[in-house]
């Protein structure tokens, strides 16, 4: 079964083969969990709950899947929508920088930089864990549209084209959003990585 594509496994599951689902689940659960985990600002309990909700939704709606859509794209589209709805419904941004998707990302940038944790002490060799934590916190504080694009590409490894399918955006917009997000991170984290800022 390991040579069978995701799309074929999904069709087998539609026919009642639960082992096909088990294999699909095993292939994608960690990858998906990491996306949810970062979209929900590393809240583990909420992430576990949402992972379960998403797969239960997939199980119940399995007959709606059509093989013309790449399975991973379909899965992450469902997950992304779930994350957004969850965040909105739980007023998740309380106490954090409140950023609307309609606002100007450049204005967001100024507000974001002010809200980010203090820059590193200037040590040239920070502990790996501290660096990881700084990166994770910086990602979590990004404006939502930057964050999802950045996580999907830089962390999850999706191509710009795949991200365009997931987010229903054209590829040029995905690229622009991603590079802006990366520059935003560099503005905050640049001193953590040896380089000269002007």
């Amino acid at each position: 079964m390991s040579d069978i594509s995701d799309e074929e496994l999904m069709m087998m599951f539609q026919c009642g083969n639960v082992h096909a689902f088990e294999l699909l689940f095993e292939r994608h659960r960690t990858h998906l969990f990491n996306f949810i985990y970062r979209m929900l600002d590393r809240n583990r309990q909420d992430s576990e709950d949402l992972l379960q909700e998403i797969f239960v939704k997939l199980i119940k709606a399995k007959d709606l899947y059509e093989p013309k859509a790449k399975f991973s794209t379909w899965l992450f589209t469902v997950a992304r929508n779930h994350c957004l709805n969850f965040v909105k419904s739980r007023r998740y941004l309380e106490g954090r920088v409140t950023v609307s998707l309609d606002e100007d990302p450049e204005e967001d940038k100024e507000r974001l930089i002010e809200s980010l944790p203090a820059k590193s002490s200037g040590s040239s060799e920070p502990e790996r864990r501290e660096v990881t934590d700084m990166i994770e916190r910086a990602i979590s504080q990004m404006p939502p549209n930057y964050k999802e694009t950045f996580i999907l590409h830089a962390v999850q490894g999706f191509s710009h084209e795949e991200i365009g399918d997931i987010l229903k955006m054209n590829v040029a917009t995905v690229r622009t959003t991603y590079h802006r997000a990366r520059r935003l991170l560099m503005d905050q984290l640049g001193e953590t990585f040896p380089g000269e800022r002007g």
């Binding site: 009642g16 083969n17 639960v18 689902f21 088990e22 689940f25 659960r29 960690t30 969990f33 990491n34 985990y37 583990r44 992430s47 576990e48 992972l51 379960q52 797969f55 239960v56 199980i59 119940k60 399995k62 660096v131 990881t132 990166i135 994770e136 830089a154 962390v155 690229r175 991603y178 590079h179 990366r182 520059r183 991170l185 560099m186 984290l189 640049g190 953590t192 990585f193 040896p194 380089g195 000269e196 800022r197 002007g198």
Partner: protein, 169 residues
């Protein structure tokens, strides 16, 4: 026109990912060759990209995995093993006994049945009683076979009880 540092810095992310067109990439490269500061910025961006790729992977806990798996199993209807009613058709009987319908031909004379409208039907309770009789017969046959295979045993070892093989005096 020679690119300045601000212009170069705005393009470093695309340059790092090799997404710039040939002429623009060449301009950036030309600036980098002459600007140590922007070279260092590019290096820093590369290191940050590597650190992001190396972020730890988080794994859902075993309880969540198990629950999802259980839900998936429940969602799939079991194979046609629905409870059979009190009266079985020939096809039902084959499914109930998990045999090929054709293999029942040899047993139709002994399996209790009745006929209505030309259709052979079997009362499930009667079939189960027939199964029990076959089980008892099968066990008795095995016991007899087992006895017939036992060798003659010296009566001294058996406390005076002598088992004889069949056909022996």
């Amino acid at each position: 026109m020679i690119m300045n540092c601000t212009e170069c810095r705005d393009l470093l992310s695309e340059y790092l990912d090799e997404e710039l067109s040939g002429p623009v990439a060449a301009e950036v490269r030309q600036h980098l060759c002459a600007c140590e500061r922007c070279q260092k910025d590019l290096t820093a961006m590369g290191r940050m990209a590597a650190a992001i790729k190396a972020l730890p992977e988080h794994v859902p806990n075993a309880g969540t995995i198990l629950r999802i798996s259980q839900i998936a199993h429940k969602s799939v209807a079991p194979p046609q093993e629905a409870a059979f009613g009190p009266v079985l058709t020939l096809e039902n009987l084959a499914a109930y006994l998990r045999v090929d319908p054709d293999s029942l031909d040899a047993y139709l004379d002994e399996i209790p049945s009745f006929e209505i409208g030309g259709k052979l039907l079997f009362r499930k309770q009667s079939v189960e009683e027939w199964i029990e009789r076959r089980e008892r017969t099968s066990v008795a046959q095995r016991v007899d076979l087992d006895r017939s295979r036992k060798p003659f045993v010296d009566p001294i070892d058996r406390g005076g009880v002598v088992w004889q093989t069949s056909g022996e005096n």
